[in-house]
């Protein structure tokens, strides 16, 4: 494998929730001991349900929230603790597209300025040169020069997301972080944007960190998938393997919970309906975070977080079911 473009090791992000007079400050570990790599031009999807910490992971990579532990390397440089000017200098390599195209575009700016601002800020182009580049960018995302002098309110959700993407690729980034970038769109529009992302990846060789809760979309767009639960990655691996042979019971349940849009298949398949809710990240259970809902729970799961075990077909899963020694001991104990 070539050297990774992005390398994240043992990343943790803790939020400190201020208490009151009688309430102590509480600590919320949104991300806890997370490691992953993204190769140049590769798409890694991070999937999980609300509260799994996937958006915080994305923000930590973007350096929008401070990591409390671990390291982030981009293109060989340690960016974990960069601030000020040095941080600003790496920004062109690292851009982001947000979920809501209504709040991520400044309503008082015309599109030429929205898309052109990164070029101005980083001193890439000004004046007529800038406008020329903006026009090329708009054409690249399927819009035209006649859109340049319009305001965001004149565009539909899908068009706005195209504008946000044009802005994000203006500086030719190596990594684009997409946080639920198609979740707010209707299916027909969503697919237009997914096809656009696919084209841009082929033309520009950008790597994507694709945060999503939609497994159907992820199966289509990702090379590799990382499954998160309560701030941890419980399984990761090549997309084909994850979808065909999920190793972690949570991944299995998650895939089983997505209804297949074909009534004959959907109504005859074996479904796993998990009991209960995701525990509060303020009071995560000890041991494996999933043990409170896991159909295969053993005694050992309740005390010690399992380590990642490599899986046949690629990737790894953090589950004692795949750790022969623990399974032996656990079965006997329970």
């Amino acid at each position: 494998m070539t050297a990774p473009l992005l390398s994240v090791r043992d990343l943790a992000v803790t939020f400190h929730l201020r208490g009151g007079l009688l309430r102590p400050t509480r600590h919320l570990k949104a991300v806890n001991g997370v490691s992953f790599d993204i190769a140049p031009g590769e798409t890694l999807a991070v999937v999980g349900e609300s509260g799994s910490g996937k958006s915080t992971m994305a923000r930590a990579v973007m350096r929008l929230v401070e990591p409390s532990a671990g390291s982030i390397h981009l293109d060989g440089d340690d960016i974990t603790a960069l601030r000020g000017e040095p941080l600003r200098r790496i920004r062109p390599k690292l851009q982001m597209v947000f979920q809501d195209p209504y709040s991520s575009l400044d309503p008082s700016m015309i599109i030429a300025d929205v898309v052109g601002e990164p070029l101005t800020v980083h001193g890439v182009a000004t004046g007529a040169d800038r406008d020329e580049r903006v026009q090329a960018l708009l054409e690249q995302v399927g819009l035209g020069r006649y859109h340049m002098n319009r305001y965001p309110y004149e565009f539909s959700g899908g068009q706005r997301q195209r504008i946000a993407i044009a802005r994000a690729i203006a500086l030719q980034p190596k990594l684009l972080v997409l946080d639920e970038a198609v979740s707010a769109l209707d299916v027909s529009t969503q697919n237009q944007i997914l096809n656009l992302l696919e084209d841009l990846r082929r033309e520009l060789g950008i790597a994507y960190l694709f945060i999503s809760h939609d497994l159907g979309v992820v199966e289509h767009i990702a090379d590799r998938v990382a499954v998160t639960y309560l701030g941890r990655i419980v399984e990761e691996g090549p997309t084909e393997r994850i979808f065909a042979k999920p190793a972690h019971p949570y991944t299995e349940a998650l895939l089983s919970a997505v209804p297949i849009p074909n009534p004959r298949i959907q109504r005859s398949r074996q479904r796993i309906v998990l009991p209960g809710d995701v525990p509060s990240p303020l009071a995560p259970p000890p041991g494996c975070p999933f043990h409170t809902r896991c159909p295969h729970v053993m005694d050992v799961c309740k005390t010690v977080m399992p380590a990642h075990t490599p899986m046949a077909g690629g990737g790894s899963a953090a589950c004692y079911l795949h750790d022969p020694q623990a399974t032996e001991g656990g079965r006997r104990a329970s």
Binding site: N191, Q192, H220, P259, P261, N262, P263, V273
Partner: protein, 330 residues
Amino acid sequence: MAAPILEVEDLGVEFLTDHGWVRVVDGVSFSVGEGETLGLVGESGSGKTVTSLSVMQLIPVPPGRISGGSIRFAGRELVGMSEPQLEDIRGDDIAMVFQESMTSLNPAFTIGEQICEVVRRHRGCSRREARDRAVEVLELVQIPDPRSRLGAFPHEFSGGMRQRAAIAMALACDPKVLIADEPTTALDVTVQAQVLDLLRSLQQRFGMAILFVTHNLGVVADLCDRVAVMYAGRIVETATVFDLFESPQHPYTEGLLQAMPQLGERGKRLAAIPGTPPMPWQMPTGCRFHPRCPYAETACTEQDIPLRALAGDRHVRCRRVEELTLEGAQ
């Protein structure tokens, strides 16, 4: 199909906008049989939510108004019914569950108070009886330790529990019809699976009819008996769930089915319906889908296309239905 309990006929709903009176629901007709689940499917702006709100006469007037048509519950006309009469029906015979349980529940009252209010309004029973009923329905939706949860406020519940509490409230008076507007859209998939299972088992036990409004075809495949597909304020196709997925008759339905990423092959380009839905004040002439339809001909742009009945209790609004062979779900 079982005897219809809810019949909507030629419904028209208009809103006063900067563009004048705009018709967002136009000539919508469907019926839901006793114990049946009808899925009302469409993208944002298709008019599905306005249709479901109209059944309960819950569209804000002004700026909205029901401009025509008829909505009958068990043979009784709801359009034009007086407010006190409607209040007798809402929450009793017809109940509703919304997408956002945080906004549909009142944050200032406990779960118990909100369920008891419905029961006492419609059953006129004592506080104690109402509380017992509240415990019963919370138990029904699998809220653990329901008696002690009566005093909890909505914010103390998780999203999934809130939605179950909202379903409990809707079930409190044994409704004949449950209108569920995107009830699982805001939930995580594992919780969505729980709620869908719950609705299915409740329906098997109590036999209520469900009008299920959603944009998610996976959920439709899971739960619904029949489906009505809406586009630009009109129903373009109705069919049983198996027929609709296997052999769609309207090009828009085909487009929606082909656009599901799960059905595409990995690495292949995703099918997308070109363009965007029209704004309600700029409806295209003729078939409203023609600007985006891969099968459109000149004639499609000229005359209005009626919803035609086909064999097997199917309806479709397409003039080329006989010539076209459309692709269903694999």
